[in-house]
Every structure is written in C-alpha cells, then in structure tokens.
Symmetry: C2
Subunit: 601 residues, 2 copies
C-alpha cells in the first residue's frame, strides 16, 4: 500500500501541537477522550485504505460523464464509498446527537476527512458537500425541513449540493438571476441555470438536495435580494412517495483533474414545476450560505494540503527507492549510483514539499479548532475566536491551494520523466490540485476578502488578535536557544506586515479603495509566508520541548528533529519571499489600472 | 480563429529588438533580406493556422497510443502536418543549400517554429527532432550517412529521434548500458532498452532514424565510453530495398500533457539483428550529442515560452470578452458588470503572464541569434558568442519552463472555473507545459550545468561577457529619463549576483563542491529574474526610442507603451524575488545534506 499521509504527523498535530484534548472540556464534547478520538481517526484510515485509495487512479481513468439523459454516470465504487462512509458517520459525525450525529469536534471530523482527501480527493467532495448542506439546513431550516432532508443525507442516500454559480455571473453573486416565484401554497417556483454544481445529479445517490441561491420576484438588486432554498431533485409528497421536481441535469463539465467528481450544469424549472422551499427568512440567503461557504473554504484549503501531502508521500517514497547519479564530488563512474534522496537538490524539493503540505495542514487544523472553540464558548471569548477564524480562513484556502500546486509540481520533478506519465500518481495530484485555487472563491476573491474585509473587521481587531496569538507563541519559542533566532525573524516579519498595512492604509484613508486593494493578492502571498512560518515555529517549539524532555512516547527523536529542520528550511528558503512581496506592496507605482487595452497586445 | 501568438510582437523582436537583418551581412545569409524573412514567418503562420492549430484539442482528445504491435497510432492529420511542414522547408530550412536546405538563420527558422509551438506544441516536437537528428548527421556523419538519411528526413518521410535515456539511468548518462558489438562488416550490433523516446515509431512516418547512445564493448566506464550511432528502424540495403532492423517499440507512455506526441519505449536487438552505424569516432558520442542537446534545450525553453504565450493570448481574449463584477468602489448592483480586464487583479495576472511569455521568447531569440553569430564568425569573436550562448542556454530552458508553468496557471485563474474545464485551451497549455522542466535535463540538471560548469568556463569568462553585454545595453537605457531608475536597479542586481557568486565560490575554494552546488537551483532562479529583467529593459529601451522618434511604422504607440509598462511591471512584481533568492543563497546554514531519512517522515 502506497503511503498517502503520515499517521505520525497527524497524531503530532492533533495531540501535541493543537491539543485536541482541550476541546473535551466543552460540554458538547465531554463524551470523548483522546484514546477514542484516535480510534476514530484510525477507522478513517482503514476505510480510506480499503475503499478509497485503491480507486484514486481508477476514478481518474473513468471520469464522471453525462449520461445523455439528465444524469451523470460514475464508477460503481462511488456508491459503496458514500454509503460506507455514511455508515461510519463520516457525513453526519460532527452533528449533534439529536440530529443523528456523533457530536465530534470539527477538528477530529476534519482530520478524518484529511485522510479521505489524501486518499482520493475527488470522492471526498461528495461527502463534504452533503455534510455542509445538512449543517446549513440544521442551522437555518425549520423542524420539518430538518426531519425531511437531514437523515437521508446522513445515511448517504441523498446527496447535498451548493447551487450558487450562474453562467453569466461567475464569482459575482450579486448578479444572480435565478428567480423564485411566490405561490399560494407556501412553496416557491424556481427557474434558472446553475453551473459548476459539484456532486450534482449522479447515479450514486437516490435523491439530491440542492441548496440554491435565487432571487424572489421583486427582491432588491444585489446580494441583499438573494434567498436560500432547498430544491430536491425528487420532492417528497404527503403520502410518502416522490415526484420529479423539474431539476434537469443538462451536462457534466469535463475537467483536467478531479475527474471522478461530477461537475454539473443544472437547469431548474424548464417545465415551470420546480418547487423550492425557503430556508429561514427571505433575502438572507447569502448570509446563511456563507456559513457553508466558510466551512467549504477551510475544507478546500485542507484538501489542497491533503493532496500536496499525498504527492509528497509518493515523491518521498520514490526518492527512497530510486538509485541514480552520484554525489557532485564523486567522479568515479564505476561506483554504484546513490539513492536520489542523497542529492542536495532532491532534498531541497522534498523539504519544500514537506514544509508546504505539513504547514498548510497544521493551519487547517488550527482553523478547525477555532471553529470548535467558537461553538464551545460565549461572549467576548467566542467573538475573539470567530475573528481569528475569519481572518485565517482566506489564508489557509489560498496558501494551501497556490503553494500546494507548486509543491505537487516539485513532486513530479523528483520523479523526472516518470512523474509526467500516468503510471505514477503525482501528475494526477498536480492536475487535481489546480482546482483548489478556483473553488469557493478564487485566489483573487480570497485576497479581496482578506485585505478588504477581514483586516478591517472591528477596526483591525482580527489582525491584533492574530498578532497577539503569534506573539504568545513566540514567547514560548524564544526560550529555546536554537529557536531564538527564528522567533526574532518572525517578530521582524510581523513588524514588516504591520508596516505594509500602514502603507496600504494610506490609500484607503485618502478614499482610494481601488489602489488599496489593487495588490491584495500580493498581500495574501506575504501573509501566507508569515502565517505558515508561525505554524512551523509552533511545531518546532513542540518538537524542541519533546527533545528536551526526552519524551518520545509516540514518535522518534528523528521525527522531532525533522520538524525543527523543516522549520529552519522554511525560514531559509520560503520566508525570504515575504520581503519581496513587501517591496512590491510598498512600491508607489500603480501598474494595474490600464484603460488602453492595446497595451496588453 | 483564436489568437495563439502576436505577429506584432514577433516582428518587434525580430527586427527592432534583435536586429535579424544584421545576420544578412554574413555570407551564409546574404541571399536574404528583411522582406523575404518576414514572408517566411508569415507562411509559417498561415500553415499553423490551417493545419496545426485547429488540431490542438483534437490531438489531446485522441492521444498517441500503442497499437499493441510495435507501433504507435496517431491522428491522421499528423502525417499531413509533417509532410506539409517539410514541403515548406520547416524541417530542413536552416540547413545549407548543399544539403537541401534554405540556409535560413536559426533565428528565422526558430521563429517559425515558435508559431508552430504556440499553435500545437505536441506536433512541433516531431519536426524539431527530425531537424536536430539531420543536423547531427550532417555535422558528424560521413558522406554516405548524410546522403542516405538526411534527404528523407527533410522530406518528412523519415522521422529522426534522440535515443539517450535508459530505464535504470534516467538523467545519469554515465550509467548507460546499451551495448554495441563490433562486427567484421563495419557495422555494430546493438542491444538495449531506451525509454521516453519522443517521436518514436509512429504511423505518420515511413522510417525512423534513431540517433542512439550506446557503449562499444570494452569501452571505458562513464561518459567517456559512450558512442553515437545511427539506428534506422528499417535499414536500407544495397539493392534499394529495406529490411526490418530489429528495433521494436515496446510501448507508448501515456502522459498528463503533450498527449499527441508519442513517447516510446524502444527495444533494440531483441533478435540480435539490430545494425547500428557509428557516427564520427568511437567514445565521442556524448560530445556530438550535446550539439543536438544544446539546440534542444533552447528549443524546449522556446517551446515553454510559446505555450505560455498561447495561454496568455487565450487568457487575454477571455478577459476582453467576459463581463463580471464591478470595480471595488462601485457599490450599485444595478450597474452593468464591467469586463474583467478592468479588475486590477486580472490586470496583474495578465501582465505577469505577458512578462513571462514575452520575456522568455525574447531570450530564446537572443540565443538563436547567438547561435547564428557563432556560425557566422571566427576566432575570438566566435568563441565569445559561444560562451554567451552556453551560459544563456540553461537559463532560457529553465526560466521559461518553470515560470511558464506559473504563467499558464494564471491563465487558468483568469478564466475561473471555466479554465479548469476541457472546454477551454488553457488547462491543456498548463498540462503540456509541465514537461518542459523535465525534457533534455531537468531543472536540477540545468542548474548544476549553470553553476557547476557554465559559470566557471574559462575562469568565469562567460559570466564576464554576459555582464559586459548587459552593461552595454544599460548604457543605452540610462539615456532615457523614464528608464534610468530601472537601469540602476538592474545594475544593482548584477552587483548582487556578483556578491552571491563570490559567497558561493568561497565554498568551492575550500574544496566543498557539494556545498557550492547545493543551492544551484536557487541561483538559477535568481539568474532567471535578472536575465529576463535585462530582456525587458532592452525591449523597453527600443520602445522608448520608437516613441521618441515617433516612429510607429509597424506598431502603434500603445504597443510600445505596453512594452515599457510590462518592463515596469516586471521590475515591480517579479524582480524583487531575486533578492529573496540571494538571501537564501547567502544563508550559511546547510539544510540539504540529511543522512537520517526518518527526518523526512
């Protein structure tokens, strides 16, 4: 069995770095202990090993395809995976007992899903979407909606989806034109087109629950006139039977990656008989949807980290087995070739991958923990956790997806020509990963969210909380002599980020919002380097503690030394690019407001 | 017809920036003038428009596949393309009249091939390999070999290939074990396996001329015991008939990109009847092969630039047509959406692509010109051109392929979710491009070549010549007030590179070659930023001259302003990363010589 993630690393993150056990103090999670938590993670690994990972390439070779008749054909194993995962609570596991869940912390639930994502990322999406859809109904739907739709989703019989994007609007949700007509019977009649609907009407589910954004006739323009609806493919009727609800799948997009995942074009109400059931209040749809969206953004970031991790593991395995070439100082061609892992440039490629994949996964779990902390606390504490979560969400989504692609590219590179062939998985990881910078808001959208909204939340309180959180960690790190220089570098980077924000704010103060936001993506890139450096220093500090205490219960000395080493590597090879970003951001030249299009020719 | 390159830009490069007409002073090219040269380029465009570009996606959808019986099945159009290109001299055009060529400068010949690469990169390779193989035979083969093999290659009936790589050796050519047994009849009998043989035994050619590296029995170990052979698939006999030469195609690798291009596994001499004809002297094969290899490296760099260019053109076209969203300061959702090209972040993505694609193409043509200058001169002048060509070759290969992938990723990004679907070409560009950092020596190999060999050629003479060449250009740039700051920045960057080299040399002086070379790839990255900055400043300087002289004969004012603007963009957004690389390179920590493999876990 090829390795696609590291259970040692997962345990290190969960228990040593992010202290999942601290969550068990919350009443909601008091039924759990660490041993149980780990057993749950191990069950996910076993399931992924048996049912998901063996189908990674098979799903790529047999993509989801339109059946020509309103449905999508998938590989038969998909149904087995969805039902099996559901049976083990991997759809509803984080829900409350009263809703049929296991009341797991998101942190544990998402760690299980990390394993699925690393094993077979185009399958994990089906599960994740169902979870998100059921959560949304549970949070904002009425009792009847919850009772009708949530249980079959948790059983893996019905598939949940998010239906936001429209052909003419793309990322611009304010331009959604799908309309919902009021009827006297309480439901609405919806008409419109949605594209890129992941997990859309395939043959592995009995029914579909499309959480759909539409505009009630007469609603205000823009995002303030968008409502959220439940639209099933087959609507349940009073007598327990089902009736086709005029939701037609008009096609399945073929893609360069995640080929096992259906990506549908849905047409609602072609025959004016598409019933839709309002969730919550009218015109508040986008606010509701953003609960699902924020979860999905963290999930996409985590998925990118997971795919990068799988590519890293495949790359590492190859480098440990492949003899080729000799050291630069060895001139004798009759000597046996060395393993390629002994070449400095190969080690550089491996540590780059490791630093990106593991650093991103650590940040993703940090976000999951914050999510649990938000839900486990009240008042100012809750509010602070939420602010931290909100500012980190676009960063984990973007860093992991952008740098994850670079990481998977290096995985191909370590395999040489073999990496480009379909005989090895790394090229599939590279293809799959590219979607992550597009899903749930592109990198450009995430960057506008970070600099335009999150940085300014409550007069910059989110930034201050983040700085405090990092500074608290620095105080621990600085105690270790071998970490002191790195703690000082990170402190300098935080100052640099502060200076950049001050510089950028001068544009905003003058009312020049365009200029303030024009290089948001470069600011995002800079923030990514700094935040991941923080995660690495945090991991290195824990490792240094373990080494000092000679406490190698679950991992070996080399494991912990590897963490400190990778931190040093990140600070030497990756972090310096933060300064380059700062230089760009502080450059007063404005170069991206060209009106004469001929200048692009 | 979708645009895949810019004829305006090509003309600008050829005539304004790199002065192709200066080559017509050489006797070899005295039969040409600028008007003829441009007609030749236009004929390439017409051919590519009609025969190549319409099949870009079709070849991807119908990949070259093993026919199960020693051959590779390709799309029928391939044969038409190869014969048609041959008829227009796009295989032998750069050869001398006496060998059936048109005696074109490489610069013109390669510019034509840029158009082919941008139009349909997996097809251009078939042509390029044939050209390279015929060149090699012409340079080092005997009269009979030239007469036998070159004409049918130039007619497009026979396909030339390079057969270097073996399964066990990969990039390490010193470990080649394919053997050549001497016979009394003058030929050799070869036995061995070669993999990744591009353009291998497909159904669009009548015969194959495999230029093969093998070791004559009893030859010294390592690269000093490698000889070069011509091995046809069907060997010509005295009576004019052909006889199967025991070269079996054992399979065709399936790949993530360049799917129209056959990538074969060849087995020589399974039945001990594979005749091979020595080219030149025994044991000098690698030296000969490196003529073809160096040409191929520039060609791969140019191909990467060309594919990045095609992706950029597709991206630009989409951004000019797609309305979506509103400016950051426009809050009114009832206003019509704007074209996405008006968003700052989209402009950033477009200018990044433009700076990479056009900058790389300019460098590739600089290399082609140097090649012509080497061949047109003698003595010290020739030697200096050759040194410049040698030091720039790994840089153009690596910069274009590594940054080209990033550029194509941004092309996908500008299209949003559509970019990930097979309905649009940019995802194919992204997939195709990834091979360029692997072909003809990976990025790691190129970087060792640059820092380990080229930088030290004749005690650093190549570096000095390059610095002089750049400094001469800077003297012109600095005369333009708006360019002075950029000329100064580039001068500083050259100093920075000098300092880095001095720092690294201190390791080499102490005999620590491993450490000297350990970050060669980072040095390569740094060199790439600086060399492309030079190309941009050169282009901007020409543009500034045109603007000062109000000389807009062939292009518009906006075109020239666009060049200056893109230069400024490159200096603001890309070049600062050179300093980050320098910081890494000057960091004295050595982090890539780990012996305890568990630290990677």
């Amino acid at each position: 069995m090829a390795r696609y993630t590291s259970m040692d690393f997962i345990r290190f993150l969960l228990f040593d770095v992010h202290h999942v056990e601290s969550l068990f103090a919350y009443e909601k999670f008091s039924h759990l202990d660490s041993e149980q938590a780990w057993m749950i993670i191990e069950s996910a690994k076993q399931f992924a090993d048996q049912e998901m990972h063996p189908f990674f390439k098979i799903f790529d070779d047999n993509p989801a395809t339109y059946d020509g008749n309103g449905g999508v054909k998938t590989h038969p194993q998909l149904k087995k995976i969805i039902r099996g995962a559901a049976a083990q609570s991997w759809i509803g596991g984080a829900a409350k007992f009263e809703h049929g869940g296991m009341q797991l912390p998101e942190m544990i639930f998402n760690t299980g899903h990390h394993i699925f994502q690393a094993a077979n990322n185009s399958v994990q999406g089906y599960l994740g979407l169902s979870t998100g859809a059921a959560d949304l109904i549970t949070s904002f739907g009425n009792q009847k909606q919850i009772e009708t739709y949530v249980p079959p989703i948790y059983e893996g019989r019905w598939q949940g989806t998010m239906a936001l994007t429209e052909p003419q609007a793309g990322s611009s949700l304010s331009d959604i034109i799908t309309t919902a007509k009021t009827t006297e019977k309480g439901y609405y009649l919806v008409k419109g087109q949605k594209i890129f609907i992941s997990g859309g009407q395939h043959d592995a589910a009995e029914n579909f629950v499309h959480l759909t954004l539409a505009r009630i006739e007469g609603a205000p323009a823009g995002v303030k006139g968008i409502s959220l609806f439940i639209i099933p493919k087959f609507r349940p009727t009073e007598d327990g039977s089902f009736y086709y609800n005029d939701v037609h799948c008009a096609g399945d997009f073929q893609k360069m990656g995640q080929r096992g995942y259906s990506t549908t074009h849905l047409s609602f109400g072609d025959n004016d008989d598409c019933q839709a059931y309002l969730v919550g209040e009218p015109h508040k749809g986008l606010t509701y949807m953003f609960q699902m969206m924020n979860g999905a953004r963290i999930s996409v970031g985590q998925c990118a980290a997971s795919v990068a991790m799988a590519a890293y593991q495949a790359s590492l395995q190859y480098c440990l087995e492949r003899p080729q070439g000799r050291s630069a100082s060895e001139k004798d061609p009759t000597k046996a070739p060395t393993l390629i892992i002994n070449h400095a440039d190969v080690q550089r490629m491996l540590f780059t991958q490791k630093s990106i994949a593991e650093g991103s996964l650590s940040l993703a779990l940090e976000c999951s923990k914050l999510y649990d902390q938000v839900n486990g606390t009240t008042g100012e504490e809750k509010e602070n956790y939420l602010l931290l979560l909100e500012i980190l969400t676009p960063i984990v989504k973007t860093y992991a997806s952008e740098q994850g692609s670079r990481s998977a590219s290096l995985a191909i590179q370590t395999l040489g020509g073999y990496g480009f062939t379909t005989d090895f998985p790394v090229q599939q990881h590279y293809r799959d990963l590219k979607i992550m910078s597009l899903y749930e808001g592109t990198t450009g959208i995430q960057s506008l969210d970070l600099l335009g909204r999150k940085v300014n939340l409550q007069n910059g309180k989110a930034v201050k909380l983040l700085m405090n959180s990092i500074n608290n960690d620095l105080k621990v790190s600085i105690e270790f002599e071998n970490l002191t220089p790195y703690a000082n570098i990170l402190a300098d980077e935080l100052k640099r980020m502060g200076n950049v924000l001050e510089h950028l704010s001068s544009y905003a103060m003058k009312g020049d919002v365009e200029r303030y936001l024009s290089d948001a993506t470069i600011f995002m890139e800079m923030a990514g380097y700094i935040i991941i450096a923080w995660q690495w220093l945090k991991m290195a500090t824990i490792a240094a503690q373990k080494i000092r205490e000679s406490n190698f219960k679950s991992n070996s000395l080399s494991f912990y030394q590897g963490k400190i080493h990778t931190m040093e590597f990140f600070f030497k090879y990756e972090l310096p690019h933060s300064e380059a970003c700062a230089k760009t951001l502080e450059d007063v030249n404005t170069l991206t407001n060209i009106k004469v299009y001929e200048m692009f020719q």
